[in-house]
């Protein structure tokens, strides 16, 4: 993953594995993922629902503790392993050095407390300040995130806010202790399209002004294109492709990434260009497909892909670009060339001469 070389990353996730034992079997929610986030930069984690992207972030904050999860690997934040940190010390990190914004701002704010009270509580959980002082800070933050008349609105309840205003309030609450890392889990999914753009612009502005790093979790490549410096594409609990945002959009290497890219409409593509949805549904994380987990949905899968488990490996000629795919490098290049020319997967497969063998 690109980033300022030589500098220690702010967050280093190494071989993180999160499993939930259930009555039906073990849910392999996160299956050995590794990524870094550098200071002041933005990582986009992309994937369908059930790909493990949220669980990975909740685990970073220790929020999957106490749910009976089996967790292994390392999550280094400024050199400290958050996975082995005692509860009390982890609490001092949560909401203070690492903060989180969730998907649905209405259900994420407590319905019975005033917005101001919830912000004040967030401050006083980490700082010994008077309520009056905390209130001033809350008003200031609500103003910073673009809520008009913040002095009046701190006295209102969440249900008196509009959806966009609620998410602004959530962001204000997350940023109130000046965190070094902000994790935004689908921050715009529950919002109207016009409001989505405002929230993304707000996050970008705040990042410039406050200098925090952001991990943005989304199923929407548009959000990634807008926000992220680097991208990690997740499928069935694993990272299947990771690179800088430019590389992922210009030279995507994984068939799942192609699927994501081809299933969003583009303005340049014209009306006659068909959208290509990814067939099938995300796999069960209890009984995952053998071999490459994506092979049942992959139009280019070869017979032996059901047996061999691909590893995340650097793409030839671009060491910061990694992909976990069993197709040969040339085959992938030819396929993507055909797909970007507007061909359907079956046509691309034939045109690339790969119907028999994926080498």
């Amino acid at each position: 993953m690109s980033g300022e070389r030589g500098e220690q990353p702010l967050l280093q996730v190494e071989e993180l594995r999160v499993e939930f034992p259930t009555e039906d079997g073990i849910v392999h929610a996160v299956d050995g993922i590794t990524y870094q986030v550098h200071r002041g930069r933005t990582l986009g984690i992309v994937g369908e629902s059930g790909s493990g992207k949220s669980v990975a972030s909740l685990t970073t904050l220790g929020l999957t503790r106490g749910q009976g999860a089996n967790i292994s690997g390392r999550i280094l934040f400024e050199g400290r392993d958050l996975l082995t940190l005692p509860d009390r010390q982890l609490r001092a990190v949560r909401g203070n050095e690492i903060a989180m914004v969730f998907q649905d701002p209405l259900s994420s704010l407590h319905p019975f407390y005033k917005v101001g009270a919830q912000l004040i509580e967030a401050i006083r959980a980490h700082r010994e300040v008077s309520t009056a002082h905390a209130r001033e800070h809350a008003v200031e933050l609500l103003g910073l995130v673009g809520i008009p008349d913040p002095r009046r609105r701190v006295e209102e309840f969440p249900h008196e806010f509009s959806g966009g205003m609620r998410q602004r309030a959530m962001i204000a609450m997350a940023l109130i202790n000046d965190p070094k890392l902000l994790i935004a889990d689908e921050p715009t999914t529950a919002l109207d399209v016009t409001v989505q753009a405002q929230i993304l612009a707000l996050l970008e502005r705040l990042q410039r002004e406050l200098g925090m790093a952001i991990v943005i979790i989304t199923h929407d490549l548009g959000v990634v294109a807008e926000m992220a410096d680097d991208v990690a594409v997740m499928y069935a609990g694993r990272i299947v492709e990771t690179a800088s945002t430019e590389l992922v959009f210009a030279h995507p290497e994984h068939p799942y990434t192609w699927g994501l890219l081809k299933s969003i409409p583009t303005l340049t593509g014209g009306r006659e260009e068909d959208l290509v949805p990814i067939p099938g549904t995300p796999p069960s994380l209890i009984r995952r497909p053998s071999g490459c987990h994506f092979h049942p949905r992959c139009p280019y899968a070869q017979p032996d892909h059901a047996r061999i488990d691909p590893r995340l490996e650097p793409v030839e000629g671009a060491s910061s670009h990694q992909v976990a795919c069993l197709l040969g490098a040339h085959a992938r290049q030819r396929l993507w060339r055909e797909l970007s020319a507007g061909r359907m997967p079956a046509e691309a497969l034939a045109a690339a001469g790969l119907a028999e063998d994926g080498r």
């Binding site: 909740l58 609490r91 909401g95 903060a99 989180m100 319905p111 509580e121």
Partner: protein, 320 residues
């Protein structure tokens, strides 16, 4: 809000009149012993019975009787006089009310405290051994009828007949104003019996409500803020989970104030329930009517209190 309360109170009044009419009709249409005959006792001559009948107003037509009764209540707050003793029903009720209020409110304190504590502890570790044990115990307590449980605790702990003579037994009630210490000790066993079944229900209710609440997104937010688990549970979880408890509490107290018959009878506490029980054995209509009316009043008031409490507890609720 004020408008809403006034409207609810007016409706409550209409409901009370309807309840009055219903009881009035029920007790006169259904076959019971003739109160005049009962009053006459051994002097069973038709002349005396007719005199008593005229005296009690039973010779008038039913609508006329009802009208007289209703007028008494509305104009003079007069609930009539006991057929049996001739005492004013109103003063009888007021005499008996403190004992019932002592029993019910004290019991409520016990069952809310016990039920919420057990419920919260169970909810924090669902399916743990502690949870299973307390929910199993709750099931036993719910299944135990009050009069049975009352007799058992008397047999075990009453100072006069018990195996372990620890607590004052049946008939030991003294008013709070007479002797606060004796008042308190005499009510310990009745409070336990009144509270047992309710505590079990409240524990189960609190448990399921809190388990549901703890799965909400705002609980995750509270944790993500870095709050202590104690604050997350009490300030965010219990605060939101408590609404159904308070709702059912007001209704339970309202109902029980008018109908703590069994416990008052077993422990011989001179309360409303006991008064009602005695009145039924004497076919003493005015008292029965008075007690039932009072029970209805408590339930209606409890319902209005619940609605007001809801608006206060949940800022999203607004009445218009």
């Amino acid at each position: 809000m004020i408008n809403y309360i006034v409207r609810r109170l007016l409706w409550g009044l209409v409901l009370l009149i309807a309840v009055t009419a219903l009881i009035f009709i029920l007790f006169r249409v259904l076959p019971t012993a003739d109160p005049a005959t009962l009053r006459a006792g051994r002097l069973q001559s038709p002349k005396i019975i007719a005199e008593i009948r005229a005296d009690l107003g039973l010779d008038k037509s039913l609508p006329a009787q009802f009208w007289i009764y209703l007028k008494g209540i509305l104009l003079h707050f007069n609930l009539g006089y006991s057929y049996y003793s001739g005492a004013s029903v109103k003063s009888l009720l007021f005499d008996r009310l403190p004992a019932t209020v002592s029993l019910v409110l004290g019991g409520a304190v016990v069952w809310v405290t016990a039920g919420m504590t057990v419920g919260i502890l169970s909810a924090l570790r669902p399916r743990s051994r502690r949870d299973r044990a307390s929910m199993g115990g709750a099931l036993l307590l719910v299944s135990a009828p009050e009069y049975w449980l009352g007799l058992i605790v008397l047999y075990l702990f009453a100072a006069d007949i018990g195996q372990l003579r620890i607590f004052p037994g049946s008939g030991s009630y003294v008013p709070l104003t007479t002797d606060p210490v004796k008042w308190f000790t005499s009510l310990l066993l009745p409070w336990f019996v009144v509270a047992a079944g309710n505590a079990a229900i409240y524990a189960r209710l609190m448990r399921s409500s809190l388990i549901e609440t703890m799965g909400q997104d705002y609980i995750r937010t509270a944790r993500a803020k870095g709050l202590s688990e104690r604050r997350v549970v009490m300030h965010h979880g219990v605060r939101a989970a408590i609404n159904p408890i308070l709702t059912i509490l007001a209704l339970d107290v309202g109902v029980l104030l008018g109908s703590a018959v069994l416990v008052e009878t077993v422990f011989n506490i001179p309360g409303i329930g006991r008064l009602n029980y005695d009145a039924i054995t004497h076919a003493d209509f005015p008292i029965i009517q008075g007690t039932v009316l009072m029970a209805a009043l408590f339930i209606i008031v409890a319902n209005i209190l619940v609605d007001i409490a809801y608006a206060y507890l949940d800022p999203r609720v607004r009445y218009s």
